[in-house]
Amino acid sequence: MAGESALEGIRVLELGGRWATPHCSALLGEMGADVIKVEEPGGDSSRGAGRPSRWEAPFLAAAIKNLPPYNRAGSFLMINRNKLSTGIDFRKPEGRELFLRLVKVSDVVVENMRPGRLDKMGLDYETLKATNPKLIMCSMGGYGKTGPDRFRRAVGITIEPYSFASVTGYPGEGPMRSGVDHVDPLSGVYAAGAILSALIFRHRTGESVYIDLSFAECAICTVGQYVVDYTLNQRLPARSGNKSPLTAPHGCYRCKGDDSWLAIAVRNDREWQQLCQVIGDETLAKDEKFCDAASRWQNREELDRRIEEWSQKMDGYDAMKLLQEVGVPAGAVLSIDKLVGNPHLKAREFFTEIPYPTLPTTYHRTFGPRFKLSETPLKLYRPAPCYGEHNKEVWVDRVGLGEAELERFIQNKVIFNDPFVERKDLF
């Protein structure tokens, strides 16, 4: 790792779990940071070892039988690459003391613990900063650390209503939710950006930084143009399905096969003429109803029908290729299996393989780098960790405990390698 990563030498502690915070620290890990998941009894709840009355069981990596379920929860494996794991009980004073020792040798703490919980345990920012005066801490929560909603819990579906929900869906119908929960990874990447900004700031000033990030505010930033438009022009946006307010054709067109679709977006007369040529319908190209941008938009419903007459005879990928060859924006709507098999992503090495935790010769497909850095590329150093897999690496190698000392803490149930120890009365 030496000399080849952007965040070489930076240690990140992750508290909490599920998606947004782990997504953030995973990206920092790919950038070369040393990332440690500090997991309580029960662990990251997406492992499925939390209180059984609380969470539904996650789906598991079905093929792997020789790992306990909490070490092969599907989305946990996909999200938590490049991290070490230690199990620790913050409710015990020794646990809190140990954690402070770990903070002292780390650079960043990123957390999405239940609002107020860290404060209650005496592990608030001021305390951590006293231990480590150069600490960068990023707290992530639904609504932020201040304001009347600061104790409200949040998940992706309850944050979308603050953002793009009102503008997604069909005219005259209700708001549609996004099929992928955008809010979590969106917030995770904003948090990574915030932490990187703080590292740059700290490099210049030597100062500690506390970041207070709100998922709702992250989401609202993606509809900022509507806020500006409302105050500038008193216009409120309306839901418009897949349609453009200016151009046509614009939308999804059915193709041959089961649930196969092609997105097409014609921006100008040149692209329109090219589309007509590909379709091979001269009457379409000469039809006055579609002769210019304004007319095409006026008659967009009929236009859509005419285009679909053609597209439903075509394979989606074939049609996309024909249109792109003449410079018409077109894109097949890809399902996850088509995405994984996509030839462009293959050429880009967007997907790769990674072993299961503690099973170095058994691989599964995973994401490769999401962007390409020429000198310090994003790297996968290790798979997602088993619960408490790295107690020795964390407490002996990094914090400096003796091996016998660590063993005593495990005997006394302060540090764990089993998420079920001391799990009751967690919440």
Binding site: E56, I157, P161, S166, D229, L232, G331, T366
Partner: protein, 396 residues
Amino acid sequence: MLKDIKVIDLTQGIAGPYCTKLLADLGAEVIKIEKPYRGDITRRLGVSAQDMPEVTTGGSLFFYLNTNKKSITLNLKTGSGQKLFKQLVSGADVIIESFRPQTMSSFGLSYDALSAIKPSVVMTSVSSFGQSGLYRDYEATEIILYALSGLMNITGEPDREPLKLGTYMAQYVAGQNAFAATLAAFYRKLTTDKGQYIDVSIMECCSRLLEFQLSQYVFQNYIPHRIGYANEKGHPHGMFPCKDGWVALHVRTKAGWPAVIKLTGIKELDKPEYASDQGRIKHRDEITAYLLPWLAEFKGDDLVKVWEEAGLSASKVHTVKDLLGSPQLQARNFFIDIEHPNGSKVKSPSGPFKVNNAIPWRNGRAPLLGEHNKAVFGKLGYSEEDLTRLKGQGVI
């Protein structure tokens, strides 16, 4: 926070400018290079009929995306324009561009050429599909990117077309990723004084969001489909109508379902087959049918209140007007006032986080086209006469 970072910004549209907006709003000096006379294409999008060209900073989209940036005009198709650009590079830390791949090379301004002038420069290219691969030269707009990324296929209703979101989500996602990537490279440069080249593909940034779906596919061989307002993780977990609008409802934990039964008093919900998330997903439509009349009795704000008091999660679907009136967002001073050149005050989201209990985001406006020609080129030693001449010669 990011003062002392000097950025040359060649981006236009949405993804690239959103990246440089984040940099500018956090204090970096961002010099936005625009085509003479025309400028960034988004200047002309959504302009209100009342806007006066000579005092407009473009439509709302341009205004939002280009706060705190300086604008200069430069014609990179001319040799003199390219020379001027190279002069600017000597004083820059970061260059960000979003031209079609190979465009910068065609200007003689590839990363190789520019890093020869300034080895510590970080250069980020944001493009639809990346600087390599089968789709490198494909044309794309938001809907095309959303379709090819895999995100669109699972949004919308099962018996209708795939649906895109009502904002430029693909491009915002790419912009925030380019921001993180650029900062990582800049941080590295602080210790090594060596720059690097960053290739950001909008499609890849978006496909990366499919972590849950990829793990379902890889570990369970399962391919998800569109399910409309519903959710594969449980029920109720989606948008529902109430008396005066819509709310998102979530049961949150296993203890949540008994809480729903208690709260609503709807005895029909107390069936054993509804007890688990999987069971409720199976009987989704029946459960929704029971809930709707009860929900219809509540206004959104009241519904959210009683639902959360019962230990569950909910939110009202906010319009922009609702957002501006939200007590939480007001308490956070989330919206800031920005001066518009026509004299009015514009409200805009500041940014998604606070730093050391303060707002780290600047509140400057978007620039007029070429507003900073005199200041920026003046610093390089060009007089007003020089600039008049260069303008006449089509260089700026």
